[in-house]
Amino acid sequence: MDGSVARRFLLGLAPWAGAVLLWYGVRWSGFVNPSLIPAPHRVAAKFVELLLHEGLLFDVYASTRRVFLGVVLGILVAVPVGFLLGWYRSARTFADPMINFFRALPPIALIPLVIVYFGVDEAAKLVILFYASFFAGVIVMYEGVSQITPLYIRVAQTLGAGEFEIFRKVIIPLTVPHILTALRVALGVAWATLVASELIAAQRGLGALIQNASTYFLLDVIYVGIICIGCVALIMDMILRRISARLLVWQERAVG
């Protein structure tokens, strides 16, 4: 067992080591102006500097908090809406075009309007993240729910289950996997939208850090910001996958 754990760890590490090597390789190959690619060790040094003296952790916290709240609020609304659309086919044909209309709008394009209606405070950023999470989540939910087979509901009915029992004991367990998938998709989309949301006069946050660094052409800071976004997103996804694996042990193909 120990050997296999160590091997899995090394296998997981290998692509990262490869990416760092490639990074050095590109820098030293001479094809690209080295001043445009800060060396990995310089980025690492910058990371430590920002961490110790510039409050990088606070940026991480501010962004994570925004993403977390945006996703939680977005999914809280997406779950019932997606459920109803998936459950009632007629509602779906009626709402489908509208959802696809709004889903196609890039959040960045909405920023001017969001500033007009919600100002430049925290609420405005949350609105953008909420928007992105909601539409990502609602699609996953309704696609998933519309594929629930009526068989299990019929079985429960023939065993004597009432409406409420069917909802609690059959529909909820069948919906949980779709809620978890919706959360994962929304989390990915929300991180992707974060920088856009922090375009709105954000003082702190990883998106703001990147925006400000670009004004002064601080490439190493931009790299630190990007890597931090990737890392936090990865950690959140891993936590979610753990939860999924725990909740969905019964699935044919376990998640994670």
Binding site: L151, Y152, R154, V155, A156, Q157, T158, L159, G160, A161, G162, E165, K169, V170, P173, L174, V249, W250, Q251, E252
Partner: protein, 274 residues
């Protein structure tokens, strides 16, 4: 219950059912009448896709007849209920529950009021009977097809329905498992005395298990013939070697095959009434 004697357990009274399709009305069941009495084991046999399952579905309460009446205990069937246990062709074992939780599902429902103390005992009984005891805490993903089938049967039996509706329950099983399941069914019926409506396309299965066979035509399903099976219970596999069994089998097989040929002929021209 004073007029119980004059009321059949279940009754199809001039039942027809039509589906609306884009091409027009599709008649699936046409003018079907027969009764099922307490203790009967009715097998419904006919070519696949003829509307047998639809017939059962109406008695289970999932579909309403277009004309005619489907009665249970003298009352029109309004919806599904625990007094009519259904074993579905696709099993419908709940994948998110363990084997034991699947069996306990019906016992925990309000409609069945099974006292807490009895639930465990009933679960254990059916786990043993169906040979699932070693898998009590496994999820269905770890079970073979035959075991899932047994689980579906155990779950239906556990709420003790007086009436069982079985839709080709052994259709997907290999010959050996199928024979075992049939014998097990006969054993349970002998012990618990239930009324059964079995949908099947196997002539041998119909004769071996049932007391009366309803042969239905190709779509729309009409009654071709109702045949009393002249063998008493208990039955065992030696029955299948008796000459009377063979004669009855040839007779029914001929009926079913003629309908099968009719169905094949039907497939070329459109089978819609309008």
């Amino acid at each position: 219950m004073n007029i119980a004697n004059s009321i059949h357990r279940a009754q199809f009274d001039r039942v027809s059912l039509e589906f609306k399709t884009p091409k027009g009305r599709l008649r699936v069941v046409e003018d079907v009448s027969y009764e099922i009495n307490d203790g009967d084991f009715i097998a419904v046999i006919g070519p696949s896709g003829c509307g047998k399952t639809t017939m059962m579905s109406m008695l289970a309460g999932f579909q309403k007849p277009t004309t005619g009446k489907v009665l249970f205990d003298g009352q029109p069937v309004k919806g599904p209920g625990p007094e009519r246990g259904v074993i579905f062709q696709e099993y419908g074992v709940f994948p998110w529950l363990t084997v034991k939780e699947n069996i306990a599902f019906g016992l925990k429902l309000k409609a069945n009021h099974v006292p807490l103390a009895e639930r465990d005992q009933i679960c254990e009984h059916y786990l043993m009977l169906m040979g699932l005891a070693d898998f009590a805490n496994s999820y269905p993903k770890h079970l073979s097809g035959g075991m899932r089938q047994r689980l579906a049967i155990a779950r239906a039996y556990a709420v003790k329905p007086q009436f069982l509706l079985m839709d080709e329950p052994f259709g997907a099983l290999d010959a050996q498992t199928r024979a075992n399941m049939q014998n097990l069914l006969l054993k349970v019926l002998a012990a618990e005395g239930k009324t059964v409506m079995l949908i099947t396309h196997s002539v041998e299965e119909a004769i071996y298990l049932s007391s009366r066979i309803v042969v239905v035509t190709a779509r729309p399903a009409r009654i071709k013939q109702i045949i009393d099976v002249p063998f008493g219970y208990p039955r065992d596999e030696t029955l299948q070697e008796r000459p009377e069994f063979g004669e009855l089998r040839s007779h029914i097989r001929e009926l079913v095959m003629s309908e099968y040929r009719a169905q094949q002929a039907q497939l070329r021209p459109a089978s819609f009434s309008e």
